[in-house]
Amino acid sequence: MATSTQIVEKETYLNTDFSIKSWLLTTDHKRIALLYLISITLFFFVGGLFALLIRLELLTPAGDLVQSDTYNKLFSMHGIVMIFLFLIPSIPAVFGNFFVPMMIGARDLAFPRINLLSWYLLMIGGSLIMYSIVTGGVDTGWTFYTPFSTEYANTQVVAAGLGIFVAGFSSILTGLNFIVTIHRMRAPGMSWGRMPLFLWSMYATSVVQILGTPVLAIAVALVFLERVFRIGIFNPQLGGDPLLFQHLFWFYSHPAVYIMILPSMGVVSEVIPCFARKRVFGYAAVALSSIAIAVFGFLVWAHHMFVAGISAYSALVFSLLSYAVALPSAIKVFNWTATIYKGSIHLRTPMLYALGFIGLFTMGGMTGLFLSSLGIDVHVHDTYFVIAHFHYIMVGGAVMGFMAALHFWWPKITGKIYPEVWGKIAASTIFLGFNLTFLPQFILGYLGMPRRYHVYPADFQVLNVMSTAGASILGVGYLLPLVYLFWSLRYGRDAGNNPWNAAGLEWTTASPPPTHNFDETPVVTWEAYNYHQLPAMPEEETIGASGI
C-alpha cells in the first residue's frame, strides 16, 4: 500500500512484518501500544456518541428525544465505556507501553507476553461491555449502587460487571509490568533521580492500579453473588448493608481518578520542559508529589459519601484528608508555572494541550476544594456541580494530557509530522468547546439541578442549551485530529529522529523505532531535561525536513 518513494527503507517495528498474525500475537511493546491506541480510540468515540445523545436530550426540559429508560442507559454506558475502556487504559496502555521501555533505555517491558495478555483482557472485557450494550444496555449508572444494581435493575448488569472485572485485570497486569520494568530494566546511569517525570507518574499510577483494582473486582464479584445467588451482602432485605458497597466501590473508584490524571501530569511534565527548552522547575517536588497523590489518594474515598449516612466524625476525617491530597496537585501546577519562567517558549500543539491541561485541571482542582468542604458538599453533591468538576479533571485534565502526548510523540510513533496549523485549530476548538460545555454546569449544579435527570425544571434550560452547544463544538474538536492524523500517515513530512530536539532516550533512536529500540544499550551520563545541552527547537516550517 505504501507508495513512498524511499528506496532504502530502514527496518522499523512497523514494517518488520505486515501479517495480521504478527500484530495479534506480537510481544513488541510498541505494537501492543498501537493495538491499544486503536481499541481505545474506538471506545472513546462509542462513549462520545452516548455523550452526544445525552446532551441532545437535555436540550429541552421535557423528555422528547429518548425515553427515560433509554436515557438512564445512555449515561450509564457513557460512564462505563469512558472510564473503564478509555480513561483507565488511555495514557498508561498506549504511551506508557510505548515509552516506558524507551525512556529507560530498555528493549521491551519486563513481561512482554503478559503485556499482550493485558491487551486481550481489555478486549475481552470491552467485548463483554459491548455485548451488554447491544443486548439491552445497563441502567445502573457506572457506580452500580446497591441494592438497585443487585435487586431492582432489569438490565445487563451481570455482563457489564463481568466486563469491568476482566478489564480490571488488564489494568493490574499493566501496572505490575511497569513497576518491574522501572525497577529492573533501567539502562546504566539511569538512576531514579535521572528518570523523566513521566516515569515517576507511571510508577505512581501503577501502584494505584495494583492496590486499588482488586477491590473493584471484589465489589463487582459481590454484586454478582447477590444478584445471581441472592446472598445477602448489600441488600438490607437479605441482611446486607448498602453502604458497604459504596465503601468498596469508592475505595477503588476514587484512586481510579488518579489512575486517569497522574499519567497526564507526567505527560505535561515532559511537554512543558521541551517547549520551554528548560529543565523542569523543582524536579524532586514534582516527582514526589506524584507518589504523595498515589498514597493520599487511597485515604479519601468516603468524601463521595458525605450525605450517604456515614458518621459526622468520619466525614470530618475524610474532608481533612481530601485537602491533603489536593496539595501535591497544587505543588505541581506551581512548578509547571515556574518552569515557563525565563524559558524560550514555542507554542506548538503539544504545548497548547499541556497549557490547556494546566488551565482546566486547575479549575477542576479548585472546584474539588469546594466539594471537600463539608458544608458545601451537602448542597452540591450529586448535582451538575460534581459533573462539571470531574469532567474538568477527567476530560479537561486526562484527555488534554492524552492529546498532548498524542501530538508530542506522534512523530516518534509514526515517523510522520502532523499538520501544525490543524493541530492548533483542533486544540483551540477543544478548549473552547470544553469550557462552553462544562462551565454552565457549575452554575446548574449550584442552582440545584441533580445529575442523572432525564427531564428537568424549565428554569434550567438556558444553561443546558449552552452546554449542549459547547458539546457540539467539543465533538468537532475531537473529530479533527482523527482526520488530520490519518492524513499525516500518508502525506505528512518525515519526522527524523528528534523533530523537537527533545531530551529523553526515546528521541535518540529512529522514528519509528526499530523493533529492538536501541542498537546499543544507552549509557546515561546526564540529568533529565538537559535542554541546555541540546540544540534549539527547529522552526515550524523546517521541522522534520532535515530528517536526521
Binding site: 423528555g63 438512564n72 438497585f148 523543582g282 450517604a308 505543588i331 524560550s344 517558549i345 450529586d382
Partner: protein
C-alpha cells in the same frame, strides 16, 4: 426566559445563608488564585516567547519557594475545612424543639407523615421559622432528599433511618428532588416544599385528612399485633417494659450497651434476636415482611411517645399523645 439566566438559587432556610457565605468565600479565594496563576502563565508565555527570548535560563528549583507554595495553600485549605465542617455539624444536629416529620421514599415517590397523622405524597408542608426534622427511610433502593433552596441533602437508605433538618425562613414553594439515582423515573421523583405562615400552617393541619396521630396508629398496632401481651407496662411481662426506654441506654444480654433510638426499635421489631435486652429470653418472633415501613414508623413513634415527658411542647394546637397505656387513641 431566554434573556433570564438564573445564577443563584434563592435562600430559603437558616442554613442556606451560611452555605452561600462559605461558597462566596471559596469562590473569591480560588477564583482569585486561579486568575492570578493564569495571568502569570500568560505573561510568561508572552514575555519569554522564543522569538524574543531565544535561550532559556536553566533554573534548578527552589526549596524556599516549594515550602512557601505548600504551606500557604495548606493554611487556606484549613479555613475551607473548618468553616465547612462547622456548617456540616450544625446540619447534623437538629434542634430539640424541631417539628418531626417522617419520610418514606420509594420508587418513585415521597411520602410524608406528620406526627398528627396527616399524610402527603410529594408535597411537604412546613411552617416558617420552625425547625423541621425529617426521619427518613426507603422501601427499596437508595434515594436522596434534596431541597436546593434549603441547601440540605441526605440520602434515604433502605433498612436504616437517616435524618436531616432545616428551618425555612421565607414562605413559598420550593423544589424537592431525589438526588440519588434510583431507576426509571428518578427524574420524576420530584416534589414541592410548601413553606407557610404559622397561622396558615395551623389551618392547613386542621383541614387535613388525619385519622389520628402516628403514635396512636402505632398504639393500635401495638395492641392488634399482640405486642402488649409481652411488653406489659409493669415488670411481669416476658418482654421489657417499653415505658421510658426510648432515648436511654439499654443493657444487652451480651454486656453491651446501646442507646434505644429509632434504628434500635426498628431492628428489634424486625430482628428481635440481634440485640436482646439483658434478663430477657430471645423468644420474640420476627415481624420481617409483616410490617410496612409506615407501620414500623408508627410503632417507633408510639414507643417514642412512651418516653415523652409530660411537659413536652405540643407539636400543634392539639395536646400530645399521653404516654399512658391502653388509653383511647386521640382521633381528630
Amino acid at each position: 426566559m431566554w434573556l433570564k439566566i438564573p445564577l443563584w438559587p434563592s435562600e430559603a432556610s437558616t442554613i442556606s445563608r451560611n452555605v452561600d457565605a462559605l461558597f462566596v468565600f471559596l469562590l473569591s479565594v480560588t477564583g482569585g488564585v486561579t486568575l492570578l496563576v493564569f495571568a502569570v502563565i500568560v505573561f510568561f508565555l508572552f514575555k519569554y516567547r522564543h522569538t524574543k527570548h531565544p535561550v532559556a535560563e536553566q533554573i534548578e528549583g527552589s526549596v524556599p519557594l516549594e515550602i512557601l507554595w505548600s504551606v500557604i495553600p495548606l493554611g487556606i485549605f484549613m479555613i475551607f475545612f473548618g468553616w465547612g465542617a462547622s456548617i456540616y455539624f450544625a446540619e447534623a444536629r437538629p434542634p430539640k424543639d424541631a417539628l418531626d416529620v417522617f419520610v418514606v421514599a420509594k420508587q418513585w415517590m415521597w411520602k410524608f407523615e406528620y406526627q398528627t397523622g396527616q399524610r402527603e405524597i410529594n408535597v411537604l408542608h412546613v411552617p416558617v421559622d420552625r425547625p423541621v426534622r425529617l426521619t427518613m427511610i426507603s422501601q427499596d433502593v437508595v434515594h436522596s432528599f434534596f431541597a436546593p433552596e434549603m441547601r440540605v441533602k441526605a440520602d434515604v437508605l433502605p433498612g436504616r433511618y437517616t435524618t436531616t433538618w432545616f428551618q425555612a425562613v421565607k414562605p413559598g414553594h420550593y423544589h424537592l428532588f431525589c438526588a440519588q439515582y434510583c431507576g426509571t423515573q428518578h427524574a420524576n421523583m420530584v416534589g414541592e416544599i410548601v413553606v407557610m405562615e404559622p397561622a396558615e400552617y395551623q389551618a392547613w393541619l386542621q383541614g387535613g385528612n388525619a385519622e389520628g396521630s402516628i403514635a396512636s396508629t402505632g398504639q393500635k398496632l401495638f395492641q392488634e399485633l399482640g405486642c402488649i401481651s409481652c411488653h406489659r407496662f409493669d415488670t411481669q411481662g416476658r418482654g421489657p417494659n417499653l415505658q421510658g426506654v426510648f432515648g436511654r441506654p439499654v443493657l444487652l444480654d451480651d454486656g453491651r450497651t446501646v442507646v434505644a433510638d429509632e434504628d434500635y426499635v426498628r431492628e428489634s421489631i424486625l430482628q428481635p434476636g440481634a440485640k436482646v435486652v439483658a434478663g430477657f429470653k430471645p423468644i420474640m418472633p420476627t415481624f420481617q415482611g409483616v410490617l410496612s415501613e409506615d407501620q414500623l414508623l408508627a410503632l417507633v413513634a408510639y414507643v417514642k411517645s412512651l418516653s415523652v415527658p409530660q411537659q413536652a411542647e405540643p407539636v400543634t394546637s392539639r395536646p400530645p399523645v399521653p404516654p399512658a397505656a391502653g388509653g383511647t387513641p386521640i382521633a381528630q
